[in-house]
């Protein structure tokens, strides 16, 4: 590979990644040379600017044709663009939260690291969505993971933060090993790590033994990746880590990292296993695995919603709620209908706003009160009607009440699950039943905010970054709830059903 060759690649396709990488590097360097006493907020704003710039550059790339560089290891297809937008949007909002995050102890000196680690994690996620090769996919995944490990434990003096990071690392390591083990078999059978080549080779596979092994590999990869989604059976780390990690990190994990998990899941599974012929039917192997995914989706929804009922800590509660939401999205995934992509994308979009909005308020409240107990939301309606109103919107959206984006997202998932033949009645029923169960804890928060008297009537000082986040999220949640066609039209006109997913 000579220089000419190197220069012949359309590096422009990677502008957003370069921007993020550059920002991260500059942040790291600046942090190093900045006087210790200096307020690190500026770094946060710089990072935010980098993300915004990346979003702008990505929007400019939207019209670009599908192409790949670096021997098809980096692809810029509509799938990548669509999900990168989500990742970047989520990261931008998280960044706003992170700037406002000033915990009582153990943070101040690491705030610089805090910002650039977000950038590297984001970079990993972005690489994953664009990668066309198992190796880049894996590297992206690990970049995200390792950055997140550090982020989770960034409050070095805080034992809860330490513990959550440790748990995260150990579980993450195991999941990585399992995923890789599965991947190694897929590689072994095809002899290539390139997803497209794999798909091509696998579609001609005729050895039933290989199909069988691929089935096992599928399960390993799926379970391994379910770590990132925080879905069953690899969901149990999530509550502990979410609780212990700094709130912006929790927000990041529950939104950006989860989105990235779905990205990699679709990338690997759809491109590789959709091509494998099944042993017993005309359909690809993937379709015979639907029931497994469905089973796990059902388990995830039940576990998430049912255990959430017993939570007193708001962050733990949202951890379980985010497990449940992963389950909902898996329903769409397991249905594999023609609206699968739109529904997952839209749901993640809705989830991004509603969850981040909620976390913004949680961050504000937990910092203010110094505790995460739900009862400290009591009387919020009196103390800050704006926050209470916004929180109500987010909660209603999470609960899937009409008029909010969450409802439309759920609707789309139902539609997908029911339009295929045979329809997934059981899965849909579980989803709906658990949604009703979720009313208990979601409305429990509303009860606290609106019905219960406040312990004290101190007004809550609003921080600009948080307020902006809250307002953006609330507005988006409502707008996409009432006029979802805005999102759908954008999706359809720019991404065109991801028909270029495998080309």
């Amino acid at each position: 590979m000579d220089l000419d060759k190197l220069l012949s690649f359309q590096w422009g396709m990677m502008t957003p990644e370069f921007l993020i990488l550059g920002t991260a590097t500059i942040l790291a360097v600046l942090d190093l040379f900045m006087p210790k006493k200096m307020n690190r907020n500026i770094l946060g704003f710089f990072g935010l600017a980098g993300i915004v710039a990346a979003i702008v550059s990505l929007t400019l790339l939207l019209g670009q044709d599908t192409a790949s560089i670096l021997h098809d290891t980096f692809r810029l297809d509509s799938f990548a663009k669509a999900f990168k937008l989500l990742l970047l949007g989520g990261a931008a909002l998280v960044m706003l939260l992170a700037i406002d995050y000033k915990p009582k102890e153990g943070m101040e000196e690491y705030r610089g690291e805090f910002f650039y680690l977000f950038m590297t994690a984001l970079l990993g996620a972005m690489m994953m969505s664009s990668s066309g090769d198992l190796i880049t996919l894996f590297v992206g995944l690990e970049l995200l993971s390792i950055s997140s490990y550090i982020l989770a434990g960034i409050r070095k003096k805080n034992t809860r933060s330490n513990e959550s990071a440790m748990k995260y690392v150990i579980n993450g390591g195991i999941s990585t090993a399992i995923t890789l083990f599965g991947m190694s078999y897929v590689y072994g059978i095809t002899g290539t790590t390139n997803l497209r080549e794999m798909a091509g080779l696998l579609s001609q596979i005729d050895n039933p033994q290989h199909v069988y092994i691929l089935g096992l590999a599928f399960l390993m990869i799926f379970v391994g990746l379910s770590f990132k989604l925080a879905s069953a059976p690899f969901h149990m780390w999530a509550p502990d880590v979410y609780e212990g990690a700094p709130t912006p990190v929790t927000a990041f994990l529950s939104v950006v990292s989860k989105t990235a998990g779905f990205v990699i899941m679709m990338r690997v599974i759809l491109s590789v296993f959709a091509a494998v012929p099944s042993n017993d039917s005309d359909l690809p192997l993937l379709f015979s695995m639907q029931d497994y995914i469905g089973f796990l989706a059902g388990a995830t929804m039940i576990i998430g919603n049912v255990i959430a009922l017993r939570q007193r800590s708001i962050k733990r509660l949202f951890a379980y709620s985010s497990i449940a939401h992963a389950g909902y999205i898996l329903v769409a995934f397991s249905a594999m209908s023609v609206v699968m992509f739109d529904s997952i994308w839209f749901y993640l979009l809705a989830y991004l706003f509603m969850n981040l909005g909620a976390f913004a308020i949680i961050q504000l409240m937990t910092m203010k009160e110094g505790t995460e107990d739900i009862s400290h939301f009591a009387g919020l309606y009196r103390r800050s009607p704006l926050l209470a109103g916004a929180m109500a919107i987010f909660i209603l959206s999470l609960a899937g009440i009409p008029g909010t984006a969450g409802f439309i997202g759920k609707l789309d998932i139902f539609l997908g699950a029911l339009m295929v033949d045979p329809a997934h009645y059981v899965l849909v029923s579980i989803m709906i039943a658990t949604t009703v169960v979720s009313y208990f804890y979601y409305f429990g928060i509303l009860t606290q905010m609106f019905f219960r008297p406040a312990a004290h009537h101190e007004k809550i000082a609003l921080q600009p970054g948080t307020v902006i986040t809250v307002i953006i999220c609330a507005a988006a949640t409502v707008v996409f709830g009432i006029m979802p066609q805005l999102a759908f039209d954008f999706f359809n006109s720019n991404f065109n059903q991801f028909i270029d997913f495998l080309q």
Partner: protein, 104 residues
């Protein structure tokens, strides 16, 4: 070398993976847990390298993949240890079963 069947390598890898998993799930000392995770990742590497040499479709990619895996495993172990040290500074223990402040 060539007399050794592929399945032996794969079995070795599988056994190594299982040992690693067992260690990761049962040892009290966090350092050993981290080492066990390394074992699991090494099992993967054996698989990759085996397939790259003797697999049904041998190619160089497997070895490259293995290199990346080694590098990343190292990074992961480093991070793990770093976090452990931080934890140790605060809690004066490396026993994994004592890390149960966060639960339920």
């Amino acid at each position: 070398m060539s007399n050794v069947p592929v399945s032996a390598f794969l079995a070795l890898a599988l056994i190594l993976f299982c040992i690693g998993l067992y260690g990761a799930l049962s040892k009290r000392n966090t350092v050993i847990v981290l080492i066990s995770i390394e074992l699991m990742l090494n099992a993967v590497n054996i698989n990759l390298v085996t397939f790259s040499k003797y697999g049904p479709a041998p190619s160089i990619n497997g070895q490259i993949f293995a290199l990346f895996a080694i590098a990343i495993a190292a990074a992961e172990a480093a991070i793990g240890l770093a976090i452990l040290i931080a934890l140790y500074n605060n809690r004066k223990t490396v026993n994994i079963d004592e890390m149960d402040q966060l639960k339920h």
